[in-house]
């Protein structure tokens, strides 16, 4: 069997990322401020950038979290996440255009489509590891891209699928309009937070440990009794669901599903964001999505060749900062000698039954 290509993933937890178990002293001190910071960021973001960009940041943060689950945690780099993103976006768009489907139904349907597509495609892809796995995910992505490109009657092809309404959020008798971009931002931020808590719960569950054991050493994971392919498949399917969820949110952003949403460019962007943010850390993709979208927004105004800067950023991260922005923050904090800067190496803190003290999720 070929070696699992975990080259990038070796940067995982370079900064003491989030395991399923945290020492009680850590969980009390560290998880809580992180969540407070996250909430503060959600409130502050639309003040710093246009609400549309702010929405995009959380939407791609969801897609980034999904990739992080299979790449950062399980060790499989998918270069085809746009397949699920795009399929869900088209599904949602078509349902809203032709059936005037309500918002929550569309969200559920897109998530389901993402999960189902990932279950089918993933089943094939996980039969191979490393580079071959990457190429399979990429190949499927290209396949679906060309279907979307050529099947113009349904998808609008190159022109995209226009005329997508943004239905109100119906909660019982209450129908909250989401027509302004700030209102939509609030909705996106709320469902992002929900998705984040679900993802946190997933990596805190036994799945988190199992996925990481597979990333670290698939042979040993099998030798202790895990059906490695089955768990890879589970991870891939979960990621498909999250990516589909993000795709639905994206389809309602601009009232159009652009062909780009199912193209390899989006797949690449998602990989990009996760790498820049920091792989294998729950908060990495959030930082990555924010940095990516903020950079492209801020710099594209002054300089149209902004992707060049992103390219340079990626090269620098891969060369010098394998843990991404998360590692950068950790290093800064350590240098500043912050309160939780130093964890005693090998301190015999009981870690097992500790995380119920964890705040938030």
């Amino acid at each position: 069997m070929a070696e699992e290509d975990a080259g990038f993933a070796s940067g995982v937890r370079a900064c003491g990322g989030l395991g399923a178990f945290e020492a009680p002293s850590r969980s009390m001190k560290s998880a809580f401020p992180r969540l407070v910071l996250l909430l503060a960021a959600i409130v502050a973001l639309p003040l710093a950038v246009r609400p549309v960009v702010a929405s995009e940041i959380w939407i791609f943060a969801i897609a980034g979290m999904a990739l992080n689950l299979i790449f950062g945690y399980t060790g499989m780099l998918s270069f085809g996440q746009a397949t699920f993103f795009g399929l869900a976006a088209y599904t949602a768009g078509l349902m809203m255009i032709h059936w005037q489907a309500p918002l929550l139904v569309v969200l559920a349907a897109g998530t389901l489509v993402g999960a189902l597509a990932a279950a089918l495609i993933g089943y094939v892809c996980i039969q191979r590891v490393g580079t071959y796995f990457i190429m399979l995910t990429f190949g499927f992505n290209q396949m679906f891209f060309f279907i979307a490109y050529k099947w113009t009657v349904v998808t609008g092809g190159d022109d995209g699928l226009p005329g997508i309404p943004r239905p109100p959020l119906a909660l019982g008798p209450l129908a909250i309009r989401l027509d302004s971009s700030l209102r939509y931002y609030i909705f996106v931020a709320a469902v992002f937070l929900l998705a984040f808590c679900v993802m946190k719960r997933i990596v805190d569950s036994p799945l988190g440990v199992i996925f990481q054991s597979i990333r670290e050493n698939p042979v040993r994971a099998a030798a202790v009794g895990y059906d490695v392919k089955r768990y890879k498949w589970i991870a891939f399917t979960i990621a498909g669901a999250f990516t589909g969820f993000a795709g639905v949110l994206y389809s309602m952003m601009f009232g159009i599903v652009p062909l780009e949403s199912i193209s390899w460019i989006i797949s690449g962007d998602i990989v990009f964001m996760v790498l820049i943010g920091g792989i294998g850390n729950l908060y990495g993709p959030l930082l990555g999505a924010a940095a990516f979208k903020w950079l492209s927004e801020a710099i594209s105004v002054v300089w149209e060749r902004w992707p060049l800067i992103l390219g340079v950023a990626l090269v620098l991260v891969v060369l010098f900062l394998r843990g991404g922005l998360v590692e950068a923050f950790t290093r800064l904090r350590d240098a500043a000698g912050g309160p939780r800067a130093r964890r005693e190496p090998g301190a015999s803190v009981p870690v097992g039954i500790a995380a119920e003290t964890e705040a938030g999720s």
Binding site: Q212, A223, G225, E356
Partner: protein
Amino acid sequence: MSDGALLRTDELTCDFGALRAVNRVSLSVKAGTLHSVIGPNGSGKTTLFNLVSGEIPPTGGRVYFEGRDVTGLPSHRLPHLGLGRSFQRTNVFAKLTVYENVWAAAFARRPHGALSFLRRASEFSDVDAGVRRILGEVGLTHKLVARAETLSHGQQRALEVGVSLASSPRLLLLDEPTQGLAPEATQQMTRLVQSLVGRYTILLIEHKMRIVMSISDRISVMAFGELIAEGTPAEVRDNPDVQRAYLGARR
């Protein structure tokens, strides 16, 4: 099969291309014993282990565990039948903590349905207790939150055994647990293995002859992929074939 044999191999054979790494090896390991496999480098000991633990499929022959034919079962099935193994080259989860390493192995053997995944990993107090007991046994309690890759070589070998123990195996395959250890660490490891005798049935590959002779109930000797002798330590020591194999003048 009712002769008390926990593990029995029947004419087990493995070819790598033109090379026959294991040639019709039939051996049987009695429950409750420590059974060692010795032999010069390249004599097929580790390959034999890999065949028994399902790592590689045999070219011919069968493996019976508790009377059940387990030949060709995927490796992830065997721990659930009660067969655990350690590796010659330390093979743990490098970036996970010591605690997580053992936890992963212990949880694998705990019956878990889909509902278990709705709970946090930290909420399984039974798994937690087992992990702490094992880490106490292999002497790594003070290293719970250290990442496996930061351990010394000796500690990693101890963790290697700990991860294997966490599967609560009825048969434990130990592949050279003292490999590359300094004398003092070797003694510690030997004591650890000895402390397991009686509670586990152990099939041990070991190079260090003094250890093998002092702790084994039975010894099988391999050379060039074949079983050339088997018996008690005293019998094996006095066997002329064994002496020849170790001196290199075979037949």
